[in-house]
C-alpha cells in the first residue's frame, strides 16, 4: 500500500472539488475492493476522499414513479428495502447472491458498480495484464481462464465483471447520476456505464477523472416475475460462473441480463426478442459472437442450461 493522504469530505461539492485538485485521488466508500487493491498496489491513489457521511444513503421515490438509490446505500439495506423487495425483486435477489453478509453490510451501491475484475492475472502484479499495466500483454488468454469472459472481449483482455448487483440494475434499465468536475450533473444509462475492453482495457467505465456517483435511479416498476439465478462452484461466497437476471412477463415475453460472461453486465436485444422461443434461442442470441478459450468454453452450455432451468421453473409455476 502506497502512503496516501485522507480527508473526510464535508459535502458532495467539496468532495468533487477535492478530487479535481489532487492528482490520482479516489473516493472511498465501503472500501471492500479498493483497500484490497491498494494493499497489492494494483490501485495506488495518493489521496482518499471519504464520502461516507454526505447523506447519500437514502432510497427515495422519483417523480417518474421509480426509485432513487443513494450511492452510499449499503448492499444489505438495499436488498432489504420493502419497495425494492416488492417492485424490483430481481435486484434484491442479486444482491443477496453476492459476497457475504459482512461484505454486504459495508459495500455500497456506487462502490459495487466500480468493483474491478477478479481475473487472477490482474491480481498478481508480477504477471502480464493489459488492464493493470497497459501493453504488458494478457496472462489469462493462454493461461487459466475458466472464470473469465466469453463475450464482449477483445484481443487485449478477457476479464469479467464480477458484480451481481449490476446485472440486475442493467436488467431494470437503471441510470447512474453523477457529478463531474466543476459540479455539473449528468445521467449515464447503466448500459453505457461499463465499457468493453477494446484496446483500452484499463478503463472500466464511463466516469471521467474526479467524477462522482451520486445515485442510481430505477424507472417505474415493470411487474412480472423477477428471478436471479447464480451458478457457482460452491453454494455461497463465490463469484458467478454465469448468472441470469430475468423478468418474465405475459405471453412469453421476458427480458434477460447476464453476469459472469462479459466485461460488463451483459444484455442484448436479441436475447429478449427470443424469449418466447425458449432457453436455447435466448442463449444463442445472448452469446452471438462469443470468443471462448478451452477453459471457459463450458460457459456457453452453462448459460443455456441455466436459462433452461429458469424456463422449467416458470413452466412449473404457470
Amino acid at each position: 500500500m502506497k502512503a496516501f493522504t485522507y480527508e473526510r469530505a464535508r459535502s458532495v461539492e467539496a468532495a468533487v472539488k477535492a478530487a479535481a485538485s489532487v492528482q490520482s485521488a479516489r473516493f472511498i466508500a465501503g472500501g471492500t475492493n479498493l483497500l484490497d487493491l491498494m494493499k497489492l498496489q494494483i490501485e495506488t491513489p495518493a489521496h482518499l476522499i471519504d464520502v461516507n457521511h454526505l447523506g447519500l444513503d437514502k432510497i427515495e421515490p422519483t417523480q417518474e414513479g421509480g426509485l432513487r438509490i443513494g450511492a452510499l446505500v449499503r448492499n444489505t439495506d438495499l436488498a432489504a428495502d420493502q419497495r425494492v423487495r416488492r417492485d424490483y425483486a430481481v435486484l434484491s435477489r442479486a444482491l443477496v447472491a453476492g459476497a457475504s453478509g459482512q461484505l454486504r453490510n459495508k459495500a455500497t451501491t456506487g462502490g459495487n458498480l466500480l468493483q474491478r475484475t477478479r481475473c487472477p492475472y490482474f491480481y498478481d502484479t508480477r504477471m502480464p495484464c493489459n488492464k493493470r499495466r497497459p501493453g504488458s500483454g494478457c496472462g489469462a488468454m493462454q493461461g487459466m481462464s475458466r472464470s473469465l469472459a466469453i463475450v464482449g472481449v477483445s484481443d487485449a483482455c478477457i476479464a469479467q465483471n464480477p458484480s451481481d448487483m449490476a446485472v440486475a440494475l442493467r436488467l431494470l434499465d437503471a441510470q447512474v447520476e453523477t457529478m463531474a468536475q466543476g459540479g455539473a450533473k449528468r445521467t449515464i444509462p447503466l448500459a453505457d456505464f461499463h465499457r468493453l475492453p477494446g484496446d483500452t482495457p484499463q478503463v472500466d467505465n464511463a466516469l471521467q477523472p474526479g467524477e462522482m456517483i451520486l445515485s442510481v435511479t430505477l424507472p417505474k416498476p415493470i411487474g412480472g416475475i423477477h428471478v436471479y439465478r447464480k451458478v457457482r462452484d460452491r453454494a455461497s461466497y463465490a463469484f458467478a460462473l454465469v448468472s441470469v437476471a430475468a423478468v418474465f412477463g405475459q405471453n412469453g415475453q421476458a427480458r434477460f441480463a447476464f453476469g459472469g460472461v462479459a466485461p460488463k453486465p451483459w444484455r442484448t436485444d436479441g436475447a429478449d426478442a427470443a424469449a418466447s422461443q425458449g432457453a436455447k434461442a435466448v442463449a444463442e442470441a445472448a452469446l452471438a459472437g462469443a470468443r471462448t478459450t478451452p477453459h471457459n468454453d463450458f460457459k456457453k452450455a452453462l448459460l443455456r442450461q441455466t436459462l433452461a432451468s429458469l424456463y422449467r421453473q416458470q413452466e412449473a409455476q404457470a
Binding site: 502512503a3 498496489q41 493462454q142 460452491r234 461466497y237 425458449g278 442450461q305 441455466t306 433452461a308 432451468s309
Partner: protein, 738 residues
Amino acid sequence: MKFDTPAGPNPIDRGRVVGIPHDRIDGAAKVTGTAPYAYERHDVAPNAAYGWIVGSAIAKGQIRSMDLRTAEAAPGVLGIVTHANAGALGKGQFNTAHLLGGPAIQHYEQALALVIADTLENARDAAKLVRIDYAPEQGRFDLKAERLHGTMPPASFGSPADTRVGDFDGAFARAAVKIDQSYSTPDHSHAMMEPHATTAAWNGDKLTLWTANQMIAWSVGEMAKTLGIPKENIRLVAPYIGGGFGAKLFLRADALLAALGAKQIGRPVKVAIARPQIPNNTTHRPATIQRIRLGAGKDGVIDAIAHEVWSGDLPGGGPETAAQQTRLLYRGANRITAHRLAVLDLPEGNAMRAPGEAVGMLALEVAMDELAEACGLDPVELRIRNDVQFDPEAGPQRPFSSRKLVECLRAGAQQFGWTKRNPKPGQVRDGRWLVGMGMAAAFRNNITTDSGARIGIDGQGRVTVETDMTDIGTGTYTIMAQTAAEVLGVEVDAVTVRLGDSRFPASAGSGGQWGANSSTAGVYAAAMAMRAKLADKAGYPIDDARFEDGLVKMGNQSQPLGALAGRDGLWVEDRIEFGDLAKRYAQATFGAHFCEVGVDIDTAEVRIRRMGGAFAAGRILNPKSARNQVIGAMTMGAGAALMEALDVDTRFGFFVNHDMAEYLVPVHADIPEQDVLFIEELDDKSSPMKAKGVGELGICGAGAAVANAVYNATGIRLRDYPLTIDKLLHAGMPVVAA
C-alpha cells in the same frame, strides 16, 4: 515407560473423565481473544519490527542482480535480509527448497528478501521497491507430461515405493471381472485459518521464536541446522496454533526470516506469510495421477489388486504415497503398489492432512464402486466380502491390532438408511434435483511416536502438565488434562496444561494423526510415575494405593495430594517409548462414509444433502473433540471432491488461484448435517490409552463417497477431481432434455 506388550487393565479404563465429551478447557481463552497467537506476542516481544517477504517472480532461474537502494531509502525501513547478507545457511532435512532463495531460484514466490520496517505498511510498501533482475530458465511444470520421466523414489519413513506379492499379471488376466481405470487429483492448499507467522527475538546468541508450528522438537533441530547454531540456543514457543493440516509441520520462511531479520536489526521482528503468498511460497499436497486395476470373481472377491501412482516434486523431494492404503485395506493374493516421482519445478510438495490416503482413497474407493456395479453387488457388501483381518501383504502372521471395518460399514449403513438407495443411477428425482447416494470405506494408518511429559503437583493439590505437544485446534489441551485427571484421581479443572514450548519435554507433536494417542500416552507415563512417587510419600505400597477425589487412599486411610506434594511441590518426568508392536501388528483406523447429493438436472450444480459415517479408532478420548475432528475432515473431503484445486499455469510455473477468493474450500452453505457414529473399540496394542488416531480418518474416503453419490445421481462417472460443473457438462449433463 516402555510400551512393548499389549496393555492390560489400567487406570484409564475407569472412564471417569477420559472418554467423556468434555468442553475445551482453552475454549474461553480462544473465544475471548485472550489466547496468544504467534503474530500477536506484544506481551513477550514488545517493540517488534515488521518483516515483509519478497517472493520470486519467476519459477526457475538465477538472480542476476538485486537493487535494494530504493527500498532501503523508503520510509521506516530498518533493514533488508537477502541471500547476499544472511551468511551461510544450511537446510533442514524436511525442507526440499531453501527457505531463503538466491542466487538460484527454485520456485515461484520463493522468498528472496525480507524487508523490515517500523510498520507493516512501510515494510509492505518498501518490499515493492526491491528491484530484482532475473535470468529465467526453462522449468518443468506439467505432471501429465513429466510423469513419463518419473523414477522410483527411495523408501519414505521406512515404507518402500513399490510392493509386489504373488502374480498380479496372471491373476488379473484370469479374473472374471476386471476394473482398469485412471484417476487424477489436483494440487491442494492447506488453507488453514492462521497464516504461517513468527515473532523472533535474540538475547545475545540465544534465539526465541514465538511461532505457529506443529512439531516443536523437529523444528528446533531444523532451525539449528539452518542457522548453524546449537539447538540449546533456540527456544520455540507455540502455545496456540490456528490450524495447520500439515502446513506447519516444518520450518517455513516466516520463522527463518524473522530470526535473520531480528539478528540484522538487533530488535524483535515478526513475519507472517501473507495469504496470497502461501500457496506458492509454502508447501502443498501434490497432484496425483493414479491407475487402479482390480481383478475379482463374479462374487466380488478380489484376487488381483494393483495401484500405481505418479506425482511430482522439486529435485530431492518426495512422492505423494497415495497407494499406501491399498497395501492394507482389502484382501487379494496378488498385489502391486508402485509410486513414481517426476521432477517438477513447482512449489514444494509435502504433507497435507492424511498424506497418501486422502487422495489415494479418492481413487481406490471409486474403483471399488465401479467393481461393485460390475459385479452387481451392493457397495457395502462388496467391501464386507473383501475384508481381511491381517496385513494382506505380510500374511496371517501379521494381524491387525484391531480392525472394525465391517462393524463400521454395517452400523454406518443402518444409521444412514443406505437400503433406500436405488442402485441404478440417474433414477431418483426431487424437484430440480437428481438425487444419489454413495459410500466409501475410510482408512488411515495409525502411527505411534515416542512422547514425553512432565507433571507437577503443588501444595494445594493442583496438577500441572508440561510437554512441547501442540494444540492446532484439535483439542489437545483438553485430552491432556483428562488423562492426567483420570490417572491421578482429580477433577479436570484441577489440572493446568502448558503446551508448545521447547523447554518442556519433547512430545510426538501434531501430525499424521499420531498426536492425540501418542502424547496422551506420554502424559499417562508421567502420571503413572507421579502415582508411584505419591504412594511412596504416603507410605502406601503402590499396589494398595487408590487415587480418588484428590486423595491417595489405602483401606480407610487417605492423604490429600497437596499435603503429599508439600510446599515445594513434586515433579516427575517420563516418556512413552513404543516397542515393536507396530511391526508385529498392522495398526490402522477404519470407518465408512455415506453421502447423499443432489445434482441440478439442468446446470449440473452438485449440492451435498447429507453426510454420515461410522468410525472405529480405538478408545475415543473425548467424543466432542473427536467428532469435531471427524466432521472437519469430512468437510475437507467434500472440498476435495467438489471444488478444491490449485490451478497450475504451466507456462509461468505457478499456482494461479493463490488467494481465498479463488481457491475455494467449502463454506457453511455447502455442508449439511453430518452424522458421526463412533464404534466402541479398545486397542491394547496401540498404546496404554488403547486409543488410536482420529484426526485424519474422517477425510479418507469422504470425497469418494461424494463422487460415488454423484455417479448414483447422474450416471456420469468422473475420475478427474474436483467434480466441477464444467466436467459434468462436458461428460454429458444434462441427462434430462430441456
